[in-house]
């Protein structure tokens, strides 16, 4: 297996991360290393802290120094847009498109603000890049459509495409398959696998078990802000605490 090589330095290191909201501890001493090129599944019941963890990584929430290290750099003091430029992109659990724009304009925002040469590159060059991503995502036909007219699966793909337009090293997919039909789940899953094949590290949060199992090289299960299991998908699924907390047996 080429991806997720254990000998490489971790791309993302979460070190003893604790996040409290008032008296409520959303994340309790979470530590994990994500390796370059890894396909990482993140599961856990509702309210277990999955999205909080993502928000801490992408910068929506601030955390203590050195708790989030990306590519060898402590990024805990960086605002979200700088983290995006460093190579962390995400989609949202509830899609958050730019509603006043067309699909391709959504992607152009990413191109405009993440390429170091955004002042020199012409609008046409940005447009070509965005079109290439849309083609890869199977959204080329919808490039000029308003996002308000998209179906749920198209909206999910658009979010992934917008994240890809920032040219990430790490892509975090936050329940990109929620509310989709069986065949649509497969479509999005195939897309994510294709992206992983392009040596992008992917963290996938998902409730759809068969998708997580098919996708992940490693799975981590959170419950009440703590890691209760981490390892090979089959190991994690066999874990008694995971079955109790998550699968509800």
């Amino acid at each position: 297996m080429t991806a997720g090589d254990t000998t490489l330095a971790p791309l993302l290191r979460i070190g003893a991360l604790t996040k409290r909201f008032g008296g409520f501890t959303a994340l309790d001493n979470v530590s994990v290393d994500i390796r370059p090129g890894e396909r990482f599944g993140l599961i856990g019941p509702n309210g277990s802290g999955k999205t909080t963890l993502i928000n801490c990584i992408s910068g929506a929430f601030r955390t203590d120094p050195a708790t989030v290290v990306f590519n060898g750099e402590d990024i805990t003091r960086l605002p979200p847009h700088v983290r995006t430029r460093r190579g962390i992109a995400r989609s949202f659990q509830i899609p958050r498109p730019f509603r006043s724009m067309t699909v391709i304009e959504n992607l152009m925002v990413a191109a405009d603000f993440t390429s170091a040469t955004h002042l020199r590159l012409t609008a046409e060059a940005h447009r070509d890049q965005a079109m290439a991503i849309l083609r890869e995502m199977g959204l080329a036909a919808k490039a000029e459509a308003r996002v308000t007219g998209l179906s749920q699966v198209e909206l999910r793909k658009m979010e992934l495409a917008r994240a890809m337009a920032t040219r990430p090293k790490l892509l975090i997919s936050d329940e990109a398959m929620a509310g989709l039909s069986g065949s649509e789940v497969d479509e999005v899953l195939d897309l994510l696998l294709k992206l992983a094949g392009e040596s992008i590290t992917i963290i996938m949060i998902e409730h759809i078990m068969q998708a997580v199992m098919r996708f992940s090289e490693r799975i981590m299960c959170l419950d009440a802000g703590r890691i209760i299991a981490i390892g090979q998908p089959s190991e994690v699924m066999a874990n008694a605490r995971v079955q109790e907390a998550y699968l509800g047996t």
Binding site: H81, P97, F98, R99, V109, T166
Partner: protein
């Protein structure tokens, strides 16, 4: 793109030439008094729209910026007898600094909280000026106009031309922002601030930029007002009516395109002048309110929203 730019600047030159020529051919001073007010409202609503429209941060502090512009001019005239160009330039700098300060204090707040904070700023600034003895305090202050130079026959004619220059300047800036990456970033953060951040948009810096530019233009628009009235007092310079009128003009015109606030300011500005002359200056506030309600209900994207809808349905047919 290129052809658009030529058309834009050609039209701007024509507009300025027409104002210059009118100074030669129009005898009745009233037209200049009324025209000045309308041009001033165009600058204010275009400036307002840079933050309020593109970024979606509804600013109720227009009157604070406008009043500071007026009083910057008053201060410069009474202290060192500064010429008009210097008054406007300094007012723009003061406005930029004030925009930066207000932005720093308020732009971390979102939605209604930002709007309330800007009202508070207006009150703070007005109170400060009211208690500033050397600027006349609550009683106001009178200033003298210097003699006018050719080709203008009166000082007000010159002020109209100066305000027309500010119109061209502010529209050019607004148009540039709209078509540039700054505009796309502002549009993205107006749609969804967190998503914009996570797409690489430096939202706070862009909002600050918009607030600084908007503030500078509003103050610059206010500066010639001191000479226009030859008198300034806090109650009228910081009148909340400016904030409300400008907001109404921008929203009624439509904020998605730079032309929107221009159309809105002309439409409402002319209406206000007509009502002031024919009925009373109080009625125009009422009409403003009614029009705002009608537009919010019937055409939430303003006049340009109506046009775009028409064009879009034509395109589909």
């Amino acid at each position: 793109m290129k052809r658009n730019a030529i058309a834009f600047w050609g039209f701007a030159l024509l507009f300025l030439a027409a104002i210059l020529l009118s100074a030669q051919f129009v005898a009745n001073e009233y037209w200049f008094f009324a025209g000045y007010v309308i041009l001033q409202f165009i600058v204010l609503s275009v400036a307002w729209s840079i933050l309020g429209g593109y970024a979606g941060y509804v600013n109720f502090g227009t009157s604070a910026f406008f009043g500071v512009g007026v009083y910057t001019a008053v201060f410069l005239v009474s202290a060192i007898g500064a010429p008009l160009a210097l008054q406007i330039a300094v007012a723009a700098i003061v406005g930029a600094v004030m925009g930066f300060a207000v932005g720093l204090l308020t732009l971390r707040m979102q939605g209604i909280f930002f709007s309330i904070a800007t009202i508070a700023v207006t009150i703070v600034v007005e109170t400060t000026v009211t208690n500033w003895r050397s600027l006349g305090g609550a009683a106001g202050i009178q200033i003298q106009r210097p003699p006018v130079t050719a080709p203008f026959h009166s000082y007000v004619q010159m002020l109209v031309f100066v305000q027309a220059l500010l119109v061209v300047l502010s529209v050019a800036i607004s148009r540039y922002i709209q078509n540039s990456w700054i505009g796309r970033g502002l549009q993205a953060l107006r749609d969804d601030e967190l998503a914009a951040e996570c797409t690489g948009v430096p939202t706070l810096r862009l909002k600050m930029t918009a607030c600084v530019i908007s503030g500078a233009l509003m103050c610059a628009a206010g500066a010639p007002g001191a000479m226009y009235l030859q008198y300034a007092d806090p109650a009228s310079a910081f009148n909340l009516n400016y904030s409300v009128s400008v907001l109404a003009m921008a929203l009624i015109g439509g904020t998605a395109h730079w032309i929107g606030p221009v159309i809105g300011a002309i439409l409402l500005g002319v209406t206000q002048q007509l009502l002031t002359v024919t009925i009373s200056s109080e009625v125009n506030v009422l009409v403003l309110g009614v029009m705002l309600v009608l537009f919010v209900v019937g055409a939430p994207e303003g006049i340009i929203g109506l046009f775009r809808k028409g064009r879009r349905s034509e395109g589909k047919a």
